[in-house]
Assembly symmetry: D2
Homo-oligomer: 326 residues x 4
């Protein structure tokens, strides 16, 4: 890219951010429709554990061929807990600049303190994120009462100029965001939805019922329970597996919408084992190995997460094979 | 009922049991189709904590108007842990004699030791149960390895002349029956299915996939996740809530089978809060209060379970009201 | 033993039971001093899983050479969950008849329902138990509120003519008996103490403080934390390991009482690994293997508990070896 | 303080840091004796949530009258998860400069990624910390295998020029540092000990035994189990309660060392309820309220942690009162 081209590209990106912001603030934030499938994209590192933007671009090129609603950047499986704020913001900025403006960019920006979370959201907004995904604070579990969580999220949402999406991910936080907290927050005009990765389908069905008057959008946090989530009232899914099998995830959405439940059932059943392999069973190292296996760039993890051993890679491959994805 | 009538009724009941047994043993046990909705019926006690068979009959009369596939007798919410074996067997016998033979009677008969479980299954078979529902042993959690559980269930199934249904109910046992154990056991010719009350829809979808070649039938263990369970491959549900809202549970099944997913979604959403109220939130005392509320006989619990306080009864009523069932 | 000898032995045993009962009821039940070390004895089975009283006698002979305060019969590691009530009662009777009357016999008699627990305690009292050890009901965890537990134990204690000892064993029940419940019950005149197997030393120290005015005696439920328990105010221990290393457990008590803390520390440290091996790690099969290893009769377990594999026996041996007990 | 005085004070502090570093590197790091009592000091904030160094100085003045071995700065209850690295480092620097050089300053410096943890330790070393206290990474729980944790800590210890103390605090991290990992790491020459806040006294006794040849020092992580910890082989304690009742904590240590076990027992028993109140029950807000109650500066917390309500403050006061500390 020549210097002129780069400057033009930057200008165009800034313009596009400005226009998006303008259109958002002009309407009610709560009108942002987030229904659809998103990969919570993995962060590509080079062998020195530095972010590899070239590889990120290669992955984005692959993903752009898939009818995603957008991208979740700095979800849990982005190794976001191992990134500095500047790194996180830069990746969001980079993605925003490199995908078409009709694709949503949702930026993970939950921190432990309320103040840092507010700052982080602000930064994400400045680089063009369409919404922020805010996982609950969790280190001081015993102090995270309903009241504390509600006040935290209200402060964040009040001080954020883009919509806020709640995020419950108990496998990482050790703390399931309570149903009553979510219902209470669903009436806030700048809190537009929830990504729930806990996998409790009863909770999702109950939430759909209890928030039905608040224009509150529920996203399944995993491909493992994507179809059941749609069936009880969710509008989309943020699926680690969509990094690898994005088309299959979008197919499942389509089958559901077209009412083809027999086919949808079979596809959902096939997705479980591969998805469990790249989440619960082998974690982020498994996700990245799987990406390598399917022609994307997974690459190394940051330590302390260790790469898979060869025997584990074989088990991972088997999971995809048994489900006929290889 | 005159003495002659009673004798005739007993004779007819014995004959019917004989004929059912004959037809079962003549075919492969695994052919028993258990698809459909079942209430795991509560045990009615009189004020002295004795079983009240008259009240049981009254309840059965109500339930017989509902298109259930059958009855689960001695499920967890029958206060089965508070009943002696003779009591359990007598209740099963009583139900078998008082419902039409086309209604299945599935008898809970899991005990801690393998030997007692075998005996218990035999007793249930003798009084005409169509299948036994066997929860896993749990007191010595640390010793319940996959191997121990597999050997336990194989011994039980080998020594039982009616089909065996596995039963995982971690809220009571503190031990989720592991997926690999279930898959391994699904190939046994006398183990025909699983009732899973854990509520992990991912597990159910994965099991449906992994047992698909073994003619293995999955039942959802709760109305809270009945529709999602159907959607991922279950064939029915054993729902505490069906004691109270049996018709609604059967309606949900029907909507699913007819492909009316929008209506099914709304009904499923409405069922969650009432069901949580009579299970997790208020337990068996809640279930019985709910039955009283809806014109069935709930009556007292056995101690140490305490009856609901008035304030709790109001909250219970509210749960049904908010979902428009009152 | 000739018929005459047997008759004489029975007569003498009945007389001794009568005399003990008389002395207990004459004084305040709460005066029974339960301080000291007890093995919660394993139940010896023959290869057909029947109780082997001959082997039990052989074990008792070994144990009688050790300065135990008495025996806990039908503790959790007696496979008590796999025994019928008659079996449990007979074993208690047998032990009572075969150990000197100055040795206490404490009988496990907790059941799920209040009614069965009362009956079970009565039976134990009739065959000469000095006190009953009553684990909390646990199957309906969600319904075991503080209020339910308190009413349960009060009813049991009110209807039992020998003293009641509370018993919290969360590894089996999945339910830690709450501190407030224990404190509340400690003022009941027929509830004289607690065996706590949970291992939370903070709880024990807090209980010692909060029950100090109620003449309430605390027993550690494991050799793993015996010394720390004494140090915070416990008066003894019921230690699975005392089946095998009874003398060492009594030595530890003695070192504590003589103020030899350096030696006590070293002995306590050595006890941990062997004790963990026969409890958490390998369970009752480990305990029985360890008994076999040390010249007692361990023998087979009842299924579904499986015997140790050879490799596990080697690991078990190593645990004793590393602590210099072999 | 005049400008000249301040300059002199700074010079002297720098010199003292230099001298301490020199003496440390000249000897084997593992020779640092960390036995004794430490308060893990709370971080004083002004009403705008900024660090209030003046108040910190006032607290330090109170604490300096107590025979602590030193200070833990940036332990969990310092709201360390809500502080930026620069803030954390500055507080450590400030404490180092304001307490006598014979008092140890142990700096909390665990982060999620290995790289950030190394950097953080380096920063703490540069400002004069005597040792670092490194809690395990926890966000990606599923990936924190024994192997990953061992490699993480080895890398940290290899790259740190002051001694490393492991830190297990499952109430915050949701992840107990496994015993085998600790034993494995105890042989590393720059890993000199463990602070364990989990409260599992069996684990501590077992660790004392298994690490006895490695010159590895164990610190109890709470006043709730300080005496039991000493008795099984710990050399000191890091006690939140020492922020408030520092003298009592040191008295307990003294009673233990002088073999006054009866008095020690009573004091330990009294410490439990107040300590539980300022940790498990009311958390950091409780700790700070307690400090205010006893004439130290507690002050506000950072959000999302909320201040205690008045009714909670009364319960807190009661806990201290019941134990005769008020």
């Amino acid at each position: 890219m020549s210097a002129v081209e780069r400057r033009l590209s930057m200008l165009s990106s800034k313009l596009s951010i400005f226009l998006r912001r303008f259109s958002v603030t002009a309407s009610k934030t709560a009108n942002l429709n987030i229904g659809g499938i998103y990969p919570p994209i993995a962060t590509p590192f080079d062998p020195s554990e530095n972010i590899d933007y070239g590889k990120l671009n290669e992955n984005l090129k692959v993903w752009e061929a898939i009818p995603f609603r957008g991208y979740v950047v700095q979800g849990s499986n982005a190794e976001t807990a191992y990134l500095k704020l500047d790194e996180k913001v830069n990746i969001v900025k980079h993605v925003r600049e490199n995908v078409p403006s009709e694709k949503l960019v949702i930026a993970g920006s939950g921190c432990e303190s309320t103040k840092e979370t507010v700052e982080s959201c602000q930064r994400m907004s400045e680089v063009g994120a369409d919404a922020v995904l805010v996982r609950n604070p969790c280190f001081y579990k015993g102090s995270m009462t309903d009241k504390a969580l509600i006040q935290h999220y209200r402060t964040v949402a009040d001080n954020c100029d883009i919509p806020v999406i709640l995020y419950s991910v108990p496998a990482n936080t050790g703390l399931e965001l309570p149903e009553n907290v979510i219902v209470e927050l669903s009436s806030h005009q700048n809190i537009i939805g929830l990504k729930d990765s806990g996998g409790d389908i009863t909770k999702l069905a109950g939430l759909a019922f209890r928030t039905s008057k608040n224009n509150f959008q529920l996203l399944a946090g995993s491909a493992s329970f994507l179809l059941p989530s749609y069936v009880v009232g969710c509008v989309g899914g943020v699926c680690a597996l969509a990094n690898i099998l994005g088309q299959a995830c979008c197919d499942l959405e389509k089958l559901f919408k077209e009412g083809k439940f027999e086919e949808a059932k079979l596809l959902q059943q096939r997705l479980v084992a591969p998805n469990q392999a790249i989440t619960k069973r082998f974690g982020i190292a498994g996700l990245k190995s799987g990406m390598d296996m399917f022609g994307l760039y997974g690459g190394p993890t940051r330590t302390p997460i260790l790469p898979l051993e060869n025997s584990q890679i074989e088990l991972l491959r088997e999971a995809f094979k048994n489900s006929n994805f290889i």
